[in-house]
């Protein structure tokens, strides 16, 4: 009995392995950490933002093959290839921060992102890094109106990426 189960499991692993190597083109992981880390005392307040992420194929940014809303501090992992939402190689990604119902548009949408043909790619959506100019620290967080709590100036977004594995030869 034990031998039969072992054989079945081994076959299942073989089938999965064969299936993955035959059809998966890319694996894309996207994490959302979009908030104002310069918020007073590190408190993000109402700056923690959801984002709508869309993936595109064929080099254009017209009809997405995959769309997801990623809440703050969440992530998604997308497999590309036969049998998946995106069956052809993903070439681009758009990121649109979701406006807060109470405070308004917290972050302006960043430029579209180019996705290359590497097998595993990780994207991190966050607020643009602080910059220094003439000795002054500039935050790229949203700025709120002190009289009514609405967003006076939206913040800017950075989409960081790393490519863990190279293209399949």
């Amino acid at each position: 009995m034990k031998k039969i189960i072992t054989t079945i499991l081994a076959s299942a692993v073989l089938v999965l392995t064969t299936s993955a190597s035959a059809s998966t083109l890319q694996q894309i992981q996207i994490a959302n950490m979009l908030y104002n880390f310069d918020g007073t005392a590190g408190n993000p307040g109402v700056t923690a933002s959801s984002v709508v992420v869309k993936l595109y194929t064929g080099g254009a940014f017209v009809t997405p093959c995959y769309t997801a809303t990623i809440p703050y501090q969440s992530d998604v992992s997308i497999t590309v290839g036969t049998g998946q939402s995106c069956t052809a190689l993903v070439t681009g990604m758009s990121v649109a921060p979701v406006a807060s119902a109470t405070a308004g548009i917290l972050y302006t949408a960043p430029s579209n992102v180019t996705v290359n043909a590497d097998y595993t790619q990780q994207f991190m959506i966050e607020q643009s890094a602080d910059s220094f100019a003439q000795g002054l620290l500039t935050s790229h967080g949203p700025v709120f109106d002190t009289t009514n709590g609405l967003v006076a100036t939206p913040g800017t977004v950075l989409v960081g990426s790393q490519h863990a594995f190279h293209k399949i030869k």
């Binding site: 307040g45 109402v46 700056t47 709120f144 109106d145 002190t146 009289t147 009514n148 709590g149």
Partner: protein
């Protein structure tokens, strides 16, 4: 047409009989609690709901409790058949905190005038400077709650 007029007359009579027999007080309350001095007159996140509790003499638990949203009004009757069956002697107003925190501090309890049948209460931001809530520019949270006030007639 004649029938409709008769119906209204009977209904009015019933309503007035009911009112005179059972109602002790009526409170008409309007919530206009927001920052009138906000940029370009946009209230933003200062529009605040208020929790209102009604108490009978002797204290204890409230005989009626309701949440009044911004820009809304309500009428509360007291007496036989109502939630507060005897005269209300104290009303408290607590602004409801929002996602940005406590936008207005709680008010002192209000004592209605004994024997007055209808009392109109308006909840507003306290007039004069220094009573607006102040928000943090970096995260949108309330730094300093505003001061609310009620006006009655």
């Amino acid at each position: 047409m004649k029938k409709k007029g008769a119906f209204i007359a009977v209904f009015s009579l019933l309503a007035s009989i009911n009112l005179s027999a059972a109602t002790l007080q009526q409170f008409v309350i309007v919530n206009q609690l927001s920052n009138p001095n906000a940029t370009n007159g946009v209230a933003g996140q200062t529009s605040t709901a208020v929790l209102i509790n009604f108490y009978l003499s002797g204290g204890g638990a409230p005989c009626q409790s309701l949440t009044l949203n911004y820009n809304n009004s309500t009428t509360v009757s007291t007496g036989t058949g109502f939630s507060c069956t005897t005269a209300v002697t104290s009303i408290t107003f607590t602004p409801v905190a929002s996602a940005v925190g406590t936008t207005y501090a709680a008010l002192s309890p209000f004592t209605p005038t004994v024997g007055k049948f209808i009392t109109q209460i308006s909840i507003n931001e306290h007039s004069g400077s220094g009573n607006d809530p102040v928000f943090d520019t970096t995260n949108g949270l309330t730094v300093t709650p505003g001061t609310a006030a009620i006006s009655t007639q």
